[in-house]
Symmetry: C2
Subunit: 493 residues, 2 copies
C-alpha cells in the first residue's frame, strides 16, 4: 500500500490501488491562492461539493505577496471616470501581443470579452476599488488609489497595434501589499460558500485510472496519506516553480540570475502533478523579472546603455520589459544615464539597489569612468540628443513626451547590475490548458478530470517581455473561475 | 484491447493489458539514426538480444542528412598531425561553456575524457578519416578532407576560458552530405552484429507497470499493434521535434521564424513517449538555427549591424552563434557590411539567399539607402574602423586577425533577413538523462527500463548560442553507445 513517503508527484497512484476514500467531493482544489479561491467559489455556487487542500496553515499563497493589482479593461467604471474609452478589442490586441510568439489568442479573446463582467464580479465579492486614477508612472501605489498604467500600453511597438489605456486596477488598500487584502476578501467568501477547507494538507500524487482519467488526489495530513475523491475534477492551482531552484535551473536557468524570487510554496508540484498524467507543460523557460527602476518618471527620460555603450530599448516601456532586455545584453553591465534635469531619487531606489556607477561634468568623463571604449557612449548620447532635440527617437521609438536631450551637467550613470540590484522574478511556464481550465496533453486533448489555473498553468501572461503588472492575478482569478464552473458542470449527477 | 488507432505516445499501455508478446528481446531501440546504430551495436556486442524498430523503410534518420561531421578532441591523430595539442581539459572547458546556463558538466566531462577512445571506436567501425586539415573557414568541406574549425573555439568569450583547437572531424567522403556515408557504415555493422531490424514499424506507446517501470513498446506494423518486450530496456532515439510544427510553436516558437527545419521524422514522438511515463523534458525552448553566411572567410572581416545600425556580436564566432544573435535583434532587419577588400561571393551564397541590400561609395550612402537613422550606421562604422586600424575591438572582442577598417569603396550591405534567407533549424530540447543514457524524472531519479539518446534527449548540445558543428552527432554516437551498454548490463540474466 502507498505510504506518504513513497509517493511522488511525478507518478500517479492507480485508481485500483486506492484503499479507501477519506474525502469525497465533486471538485477538489489544490492550494489556496487567488486561482483556488475563485475556482472553489464558482464550483461551490454551481452546486458542487468542493474540498480545498492547502499545504500551509492559512490562505493567501503568492497572490497575497502581490500588490493585489488586477489587469482589467474594456471600459471599467474607473477607466471611464478617468476619461479613458477602453474597448474589448483594444484589450484583446494588447493581450495578444503581450503573449509573445506562443500567444494564446483564444484565451486573450475570452479575457478581453469577459473583463468588464469580471470587474463587476470582483466588486460583488467585496473587493473595493476607489474611483481614482494616478497619471504618474508607478510600480504600485502607496496610497489606496486605483487605476494606474501598469504595462507597455503607450510604448512602441504595443501602441502601434492596440489603442492604449491604463488597466492596472489596485484595490482600495493604503500601502503596498494589497494582495493580502484581496485574498482576505476572497477567502471569506470561500468559507461562506461552504467549501471544505483543509489546511496543512500537502497534495502528494494524483489518482488516475488506466485510461488516464483523474479521479482524485492523495494528500498528506498529519504524516499519513489520505485519499480524496473528486468525481468531477481536480483543479491544480499550486503556483509556479520559482522556489524550486533545481527546476528553475533545468527549465529557465537564465532566471537564476535574478536573486530575488517572488513566491511562497511555488515548488513546481502543481505542474509536476499534471505532467504525471500526460499533461503538456509549455513555455517552461519563460519568466518575469524586473528591477523597479522607476519612479520617478523623470528617469524614463534617461537612456539605458550596455557594456558597449549602446542603447537597446525604448525606455518608456514597462519596467519588466526593460529588465528582460537588460538581462540579454552582451557584457553583463548596464547603466541608466541621466542628467541634472532628469535624475531624481524615488521611493523604490533603496529597494532597487541601483547605485551611482559614475558621474561627471561631461559624458566623456562618464564614459571613461565606466571604462567604456572611448567614443562609444559619447557617440550614443550624441545621436540620442540630436534626435531628442527634434522630438524623435528613430532607433527605438520612445514616445516624444519622454524625449529630452541629456545635456545638463552633471551627468550620472546608475548601475543596474543584475548580480547586485533587486531583480525579482517568477515563472510563467506551466501546464497547457484550454480557456475552460481543462489541462491538455501535447495534442491538446483534454485530460479527463484535470484542471489548472494560476501559475500552475501557462496562462495569459506567458512571455516575460510582454508582462504587465496585474496580468497574473487577472489570469488566476478569471480562468480560476472558469475552471471551477467547468468542473462543476461535469459533476452534475 | 488496444487497437493501433486508440494508442497515443502520451499515455503508456499498462503492462497487465498486454495481450501477448510479438517480439521478445533484452533491448528495444526505437528509430535508426546514429544514436540507435551505436546503442544497438554496443548492446548486441555485450550479449543482449536487440530489436530495432524504424518507422521508415531504411536506415539513416536525420543523421544521414548531416555532413557527417563529429566534434572530437583531446588530441586525435588528425589533430596532432595538423600540429594541434588539444587536451581533454580544453575540450571539457569548451563543452561546459557551450552548454549554456543549464550546462551538464558531468556529461561534458564524460565526453571530454572519452573522446579520443570514441574516435578510435568510430575508425574501428569502418568510418574513414583522411589525415588532413583545412585552415580556411568553412561550413562543411566539399572535398574529402577531415579536420575543420567548426565552432567558436577561437572567438571571444570561449577563447578566454578554453585553449582552442579545431575539432570538427569530417569523414573521408567527397562532397556534401557525409552523414549518409557514416550511417551506411554504422548500419552495416548493426546488421552484422545480429540486431533484429524491423522497418516500417512505428512506435506507438510505451508499456509500463503500475510502479512506472518500462517493459516494452507497442509498435504498429501493417496497421496492427504489435507488442515488443524489452526485459532490460527501451532506448528512444527517435530524433527531436522540429518537424512537428505544433510542438515547435508550443515549446520553441521563436524557431518558427526559421523556415528551413532540418529533419526527417523528428515529430517529437520519442520525447512524448518518455513524457508519458513521467520523464522530465528540459531545454525545450532551445534550438539551433543558422544561415551559412561564410565562407568566404573574408566576410568575417565584415560587421553585422541591426535595424539601429549597431553592431551586436564578434563576427568571428561560429555562424550559428551569429545567427542566434541576429534573431534577437530589435527591428527584424540585419545586414552584413563589407567593403571592396572583404566582399566576395562564396559557394554557399546562393543557398543562403543573402542578397545585396544596399551599396554605395560612402557609408553615408549605404546608411541612407537602408533607410537607417542618419548618423547611426556611420557612427558604428567610424568607431569600428578607428579601433580596427589599431588592431582592437573593445566592444565585442573580435580577434585581431579578422580586424580591418572597412574603408575601401564601394561598400555593400548584405541583407540577412530571417524571413527570406536560408535559416535552417533543429531542436535541442529533449528528455533529461544521466550520462548513462537513463531517462530521469524531475527529481533526476531514473525511470527503470528507459533510455534516450540523440535529439530525443537533451544532450551535450543544448544551447543554440553554444552549438558547434558536429556536436549533435558526437553526442548521439557517444551517449548512444553508453545507453546501449548500460541497458545491456541490466539485461544480464
Amino acid at each position: 500500500m502507498s505510504t506518504a513517503t513513497n509517493l511522488s508527484a511525478d507518478h500517479p497512484v492507480p485508481l485500483e490501488s486506492v484503499p479507501r476514500w477519506d474525502f469525497e467531493s465533486d471538485v477538489v482544489v489544490v492550494a489556496f491562492g487567488a486561482a483556488v479561491a475563485c475556482s472553489a467559489l464558482e464550483a461551490a455556487r454551481a452546486g458542487a461539493r468542493v474540498t480545498l487542500f492547502e499545504v500551509t496553515s492559512g490562505h493567501g499563497g503568492t497572490s497575497a505577496l502581490s500588490g493585489g493589482e488586477i489587469y482589467l479593461g474594456g471600459g471599467t467604471p474607473i477607466q471611464r471616470a478617468a476619461g479613458f474609452t477602453d474597448s474589448a478589442e483594444a484589450l484583446y490586441r494588447y493581450l495578444a501581443m503581450a503573449g509573445g510568439p506562443n500567444t494564446d489568442l483564444e484565451r486573450a479573446r475570452a479575457y478581453a470579452d469577459g473583463s468588464l463582467a469580471h470587474y463587476d464580479w470582483l466588486v460583488a465579492q467585496g473587493v473595493e476599488y476607489k474611483n481614482s486614477y494616478i497619471a504618474e508612472r508607478c510600480i504600485e501605489p502607496s496610497t489606496d488609489d486605483c487605476l494606474i498604467w501598469s504595462g507597455s500600453e503607450e510604448a512602441w511597438p504595443f501602441v502601434e497595434q492596440a489603442e492604449p489605456a491604463p488597466r492596472g486596477h489596485c484595490p482600495k488598500f493604503a500601502g503596498m501589499g494589497g494582495g493580502r487584502y484581496v485574498m482576505d476578501v476572497l477567502a471569506k467568501r470561500v468559507v461562506e460558500a461552504g467549501v471544505r477547507v483543509q489546511f496543512d494538507a500537502r497534495a502528494l500524487a494524483l489518482i488516475a485510472d488506466a485510461a488516464g482519467r483523474v479521479h482524485g488526489v492523495v494528500v498528506r495530513i498529519d504524516g499519513e496519506p489520505r485519499y480524496a475523491r473528486a468525481t468531477a475534477g481536480v483543479i491544480l492551482c499550486a503556483g509556479g516553480f520559482v522556489m524550486n531552484r533545481d527546476m528553475v535551473r533545468r527549465h529557465a536557468a537564465w532566471l537564476l540570475r535574478s536573486q530575488f524570487p517572488i513566491g511562497t510554496v511555488d515548488d513546481g508540484s502543481g505542474i509536476r502533478l499534471g505532467l504525471s498524467v500526460g499533461a503538456a507543460a509549455i513555455n517552461m523557460n519563460e519568466g518575469f523579472t524586473t528591477v523597479p527602476w522607476y519612479p520617478p518618471g523623470s528617469l524614463v527620460k534617461g537612456i539605458f546603455v550596455n557594456a558597449q555603450g549602446q542603447r537597446f530599448i525604448n525606455e518608456d516601456c514597462y519596467h519588466g520589459r526593460v529588465s528582460h532586455y537588460i538581462l540579454r545584453q552582451t557584457g553583463d553591465r548596464v547603466w541608466l544615464l541621466a542628467d541634472r534635469a532628469t535624475y531624481a531619487v524615488g521611493e523604490m531606489h533603496e529597494l532597487a539597489r541601483m547605485e551611482i556607477g559614475a558621474a561627471g561634468e561631461t559624458w566623456d568623463e562618464v564614459e571613461s569612468e565606466l571604462k567604456l571604449a572611448k567614443g562609444s557612449l559619447t557617440a550614443t548620447v550624441a545621436l540620442y540628443n540630436r534626435y531628442a532635440a527634434e522630438g524623435s527617437d528613430p532607433l527605438f521609438h520612445k514616445a516624444p513626451k519622454w524625449l529630452k536631450p541629456l545635456d545638463e551637467p552633471p551627468f550620472v550613470a546608475l548601475d543596474c547590475r543584475v548580480d547586485y540590484c533587486f531583480y525579482s522574478s517568477f515563472t510563467l511556464g506551466g501546464l497547457d490548458t484550454l480557456p475552460t481550465g481543462q489541462v491538455v496533453d501535447e495534442d491538446r486533448r483534454p485530460i479527463a478530470g484535470l484542471y489548472a489555473a494560476g501559475r500552475t498553468a501557462c496562462g495569459l501572461p506567458r512571455w516575460g517581455e510582454g508582462y504587465s503588472s496585474g496580468m497574473s492575478l487577472a489570469d488566476a482569478t478569471f480562468f480560476g473561475r472558469r475552471a471551477g464552473l467547468h468542473a462543476a458542470s461535469r459533476g452534475a449527477r
